[in-house]
Symmetry: C2
Subunit: 206 residues, 2 copies
């Protein structure tokens, strides 16, 4: 078991593509089944790749999981960035809410937040992963906060609204709502949580 800082740097073009294919498949599996329920053999089978390739591209399982986290971070931030980069008014937020609810409904409320479940599964187990996830949540919060800052600047929100704090509260409601929706197999708790979060934002309308 090596312990080099991170994984090996990606060597050739083809190598980099292969590596990415592995990470993508692993991310899907981990998302659907939970971090602790996915074996390297599962990943090997899903990608049609052999055991030694996994160890060619990653030092060990943790190392691969760290890549998976990075991958999910990109996916999630990529999904939410557009909304908040062009955030103008309340309608955009409502649409965002509806998008999330529809997305969960489409999968019958199975699976929660990719980052949330990773956080729950790894926080007490892998400190590197925990820090990565903490960073991911921070970035996510920052993206939301930037949108809210724009709303402050356009006087859709009062100047005494603190975009950073509000962003955290929105994110917490989202995470909690997703978890409860997953558990109940019903989007209702998610809807309620997001509506409450948006109502709280609206209390800072001028």
């Amino acid at each position: 078991m090596h312990d080099e800082p991170g994984a090996l740097p990606p060597p050739t073009q083809k190598g980099r593509e292969q590596r990415q294919r592995i990470v993508d498949a692993a991310a899907d599996l981990v998302f659907e089944r939970g971090v602790t329920e996915v074996s390297l053999d599962d990943i090997r089978e899903a990608t049609g790749v052999s055991k030694s390739q996994l160890y060619h591209y990653f030092n060990n399982k943790s190392d691969l999981l760290h890549a998976v986290i990075e991958c999910q971070r990109e996916r999630v931030l990529g999904n939410h960035r557009p909304t908040f980069q062009s955030l103008e008014g309340w309608d955009d937020l409502t649409q965002w809410r509806d998008m999330i609810v529809a997305h969960q409904a489409a999968r019958s409320c199975r699976y929660g937040c990719p980052l949330g479940s990773l956080a729950n599964g790894l926080a007490e187990l892998d400190d590197v992963a925990r820090n990565q996830l903490s960073g991911a949540f921070s970035s996510w919060g920052r993206i939301i906060a930037e949108g809210l800052t724009r709303m402050v600047e356009s006087h859709t929100l009062r100047a005494d609204a603190d975009p950073q704090e509000l962003a955290v509260s929105v994110l917490a409601s989202l995470q909690g709502g997703l978890l409860m929706a997953e558990t109940a197999r019903d989007t209702r708790p998610l809807e309620i949580a997001l509506d409450a979060a948006i109502a709280h934002l609206k209390s800072f309308a001028p």
Copy 2:
């Protein structure tokens, strides 16, 4: 592997105590290390009990986990019931918030919500457990809602406040806040989430 409805009914006094001791220890271990990271041998060692005793009291591991869920449900509801059964005004809620924050701070933000992490770890893995946890969240919500109902009756909250929905939003904020605090090892997100939840309640003050 038997599949009888639940576990065997508790036979003698001593037996019941032994069983309870096992469940308690298992609940602690599962809480500290995560559902998927606790083996029956760990539980055996922690209780000084032998393997066959575990199978004497429980049909299999899932069965024991279901007992653990029930145990955590009792613990958590037991912790929160007093607050909401005697809920009078805003001060009680603030105290409740402070209690939770202090509790997490005392353990350096390690571990999240016992029920929340069980839900996250088992929702996609064990449908019986998922239903149990869904029920636990419902009960928890009901307890909160009863407190809020009393606040409506005493005109601390307006009559158009929906205690059930508000309870769910509070619970979601709590769950999300706990998860983010655990991940960041910082109570700040939890504080923000709970403050936002209470602020949202206050928006229903007359």
